[in-house]
Amino acid sequence: MIALLLDVFDTFRNTLDDLAPIIGTLFFFQYVVLKQPLINLDRILIGLFMVALGLTLFLVGLEKAIFPLGDTMARQLTDPAFLYAAGQIPTYLWQDYFWVYVFAFSIGFSTTVAEPALIAVALKAEDISGGAISAFGLRMAVAMGVAIGVTIGCFRIVSGTSLWMYIVVAYVVVLLQTLRAPKIMIPLAFDSGGVTTSTVTVPLLAALGLGLASTIPGRSPVLDGFGLIAFASVFPIMTVLAYSQFSAWQERQSNKQDKEG
């Protein structure tokens, strides 16, 4: 308990340094450039205290729960005793890690599909597309994108292949899609990559990747451990563009039928 309190106190002092630039910027522009006093100053000060305390508790909690959890899951899912029956000789082939991929897919999908930021973006997209894009369809597209991205990212760690190669291919696909997709959807697609990786998901993915890289024979955390978040950010762009291309195609088909009929 005392160790926890010391930890909280120590983190709190660092947190104040972390928050200083943004608070300083806002107050400088408010008071020096705009020359307007803030109304409700006491409310704002309480709010700032909550930000600092909240950030502190969050960081302490990550260290105690999310990081160990991601690490434990990675270790248990790659434990030879779990992968191979007694007496079977461990081969450590990529297809032996079936449950790693299922876990990666489940985490990617479930953390994304209910993300509030995504729901808001999806509703906005339905609005501007005049209903051609459904909010539900877009949410599914993003969630599938994150799920597929994290799964392929785990396969990359298991197989030890180069991150660069995957990202080059992903970028080329995204660029080709950008040329063909409806213009109005492009900024939304690029944003969906950013908004989906929430503050809780990012540390969990990092811990999972580092855990996998440190338990799978032949992998090193420093070379193979990072990269899952990159996959989780690029793949939704692809699936959202694909979904909007599909919607546009579907609309053209039904227009054609209307004309013929």
Binding site: P21, L34, G47, T111, T197, V202
Partner: protein, 249 residues
């Protein structure tokens, strides 16, 4: 005192929000632990305390942002987008990008993790000071790059530069830099793009973009306002690789 009670009352909604962030993770893990792995989680008690900290911390953080930082930031973003000198607007854009990124929780956590891993691989010294220096260096590179990205993004909105060309040149720069960057930095560099655009950066930067695009005639807030985030996830990759070249290369 009254305002504290009001704040506490308002805590219920962000608490539910934080719970919603955590629930899917917990469900997936419980299902895997009971059905697939059938193994106990070590140190469960300490983990529960940690989860409680994450839950309350996230709720306090979000509620504090919404009651203090976001209103000021959005008000300023609109004020500078609508009138005032371009010079102040650009300075505001840079500092906003920098400041929000330094305060981004996920980036703080990931940078510390990257420093631990680098120390374990003897790429940097293993004492606390060396790890802190490396983590701070990573975060500063990302924050400077986000500040610059927001600056370019604001100029783009003002001048009407097309977004696709900027994104394509960003991609090309990243791909050409990667073979020269130390292999140990590439993973964290590519991750940095996704980490920066999160809880605190997105709402403030989006407010600036949408405010700016709607104050300029003939601009579509949806098309022009959004590109800021896309740029803010590209440039960090370039800058973190450059940092890697400097420190590890």
């Amino acid at each position: 005192m009254n305002s504290i009670l009001v704040s506490l009352h308002q805590m219920v909604r962000p608490l539910l929000g934080a719970l919603r962030d955590l629930t899917p993770i917990l469900i997936v893990i419980v299902v895997f632990q009971t059905l697939v792995l059938q193994q106990p989680i070590p140190d469960l008690g300490s983990m529960m305390v940690g989860f409680l900290c994450v839950l309350i911390g996230l709720a306090l953080f979000v509620q504090g942002l919404e009651s203090a930082l976001f209103p000021i930031g959005e008000n300023l973003a609109h004020a500078f987008a609508n009138k005032g000198s371009v010079a102040w607007l650009l300075l505001f854009a840079v500092l906003l990008g920098f400041g929000t990124t330094i305060a981004e929780p996920a980036l703080i956590a990931i940078a510390a993790k990257a420093a631990d891993v680098a120390a374990a691989a003897s790429l940097i010294g293993s004492d606390a000071a060396a790890r802190e220096e490396y983590a701070d260096g990573l975060r500063l590179s990302v924050a400077v790059s986000v500040g610059l990205a927001i600056l370019i993004g604001v100029l783009r909105i003002l001048r009407g530069w097309p977004l696709p060309y900027l994104i394509i040149s960003g991609y090309l720069l990243i791909e050409f830099m990667t073979p020269f960057a130390p292999p140990e930095i590439i993973g964290i560099a590519y991750d940095a793009g996704g980490v920066t655009t999160s809880t605190i950066t997105v709402p403030l930067v989006a407010a600036l973009g949408v405010g700016l695009a709607s104050s300029i005639q003939g601009r579509n807030p949806v098309l022009d306002g959004f590109g800021l985030i896309a740029l803010a996830s590209l440039l960090p990759m370039v800058f973190v690789m450059a940092y890697g070249l400097m420190v590890l290369g």
